[in-house]
Amino acid sequence: MSRENIKYTDEELIARFQKGDERAYVELVRRYKDRLLNFVFRYLNSYEQAEDVVQDTLMKLYTSAHMYREIAKFSTWIFTIAANLAKSELRRLKRRRVISIHNMGFDDKEYEIPSESYDPEKETTSAYGEKQIQQAIDTLPDQFKTVILLREVQQLSYEEISQILGVSIGTVKSRINRGRLRLQKLLKELKEQ
């Protein structure tokens, strides 16, 4: 089944699924589950919640496949759903983190500390470790965070990102540049701490 599906593009698979072929759905799930997880995990910095968001995204694919129109690439459509769900989840998590930090008697400011899901053994060997980078990502304002992750982690094109976010390519380019500079500044601050 999987082998014969290699010849189908994502767009052909969603078209088949729209006509009722459930195997096409399974194939799309297999193609996208880990890719989506990587994006959402970096966005939320929590594996459990990220996996839930990916489940919801793929569930949404099942229930709303009829909403997809071939004018967009399938990948941009599914990333749009994931980005929206991740955004709502982050808002919910932040509220919850603030509440739990309050209960522990810390300052509000400290709720951005990396969550319990971080595994220090995974640290990369480059000049910047995974921990530092994740910490900087967590602190990026949302308008930069999404573009930066879609560009640097998912390596999507400016055009794809512009479709996902529903903003012009010019806006995407400017946000990516400003987001990178902001990230660099945050990493510098983290290094100096």
């Binding site: 996996e51 968001v53 989840e89």
Partner: protein, 176 residues
């Protein structure tokens, strides 16, 4: 070109999106500006570190959990009435339990309340009156274990996700 202008095109510089003239101006700037040269090298470092961040994978049961949710969704769509019953199964079992307790109490009460002093019977004696089976009909006694089962079933944590209020809320948020 000054430092501010270089910052504005640093991404285009890295991604080779500048025309010949712009690129030349940028090169001239970094040739004599140590700060921007370092900034550029550092930025390239950060971006390459981001590209090589460790990837994570969904757990091995991810697909089976998802497909179970899909199945539930399909059943719900095909048999909405059955789904409603399933959805309110807790309420239904709770109502049944309340009814059963009420019926049992009434039965025990009527069977021991013949003498006037029975109203002040100590608990142990009260229990004894029904516990030996003499005061309660077999039907009520027999239904007791099944009542326990119903309760246990109803109080099991819901691992499905479809009935999870969080999930419902998230889906609702997307729909909005």
């Amino acid at each position: 070109m000054d430092c501010y202008s270089f910052e504005k095109i640093i991404s285009d510089y890295i991604e080779s999106n500048l025309n010949v003239k712009e690129r030349q101006e940028a090169n001239e700037h970094i040739a004599h500006c140590k700060r921007c040269r370092e900034k550029l090298a550092d930025m390239i470092n950060i971006l390459s570190a981001m590209k090589t961040l460790p990837c994570c994978q969904t757990r091995s049961d991810f697909e089976s959990r998802l497909m179970a949710r899909v199945d539930r969704y399909r059943q719900q769509k095909e048999h909405p009435f059955v789904h409603i019953l399933h959805h309110y199964s807790r309420a239904i079992s709770a109502a049944a339990a309340v009814l059963l307790i009420a019926a049992t109490s009434l039965f025990v009460y009527t069977s021991v309340s013949v003498p006037a002093e029975s109203a002040t019977l100590p608990a142990a004696e009260f229990r004894g009156a029904g516990g030996n089976g003499s005061g309660l009909p077999a039907a009520v006694l027999n239904s007791a274990p099944s009542f326990a089962n119903t309760k246990a079933e109803a109080s099991q944590p819901d691992t499905s996700g479809a009935e999870n209020p969080d999930y419902q809320r998230r889906i609702k948020m997307v729909n909005e």
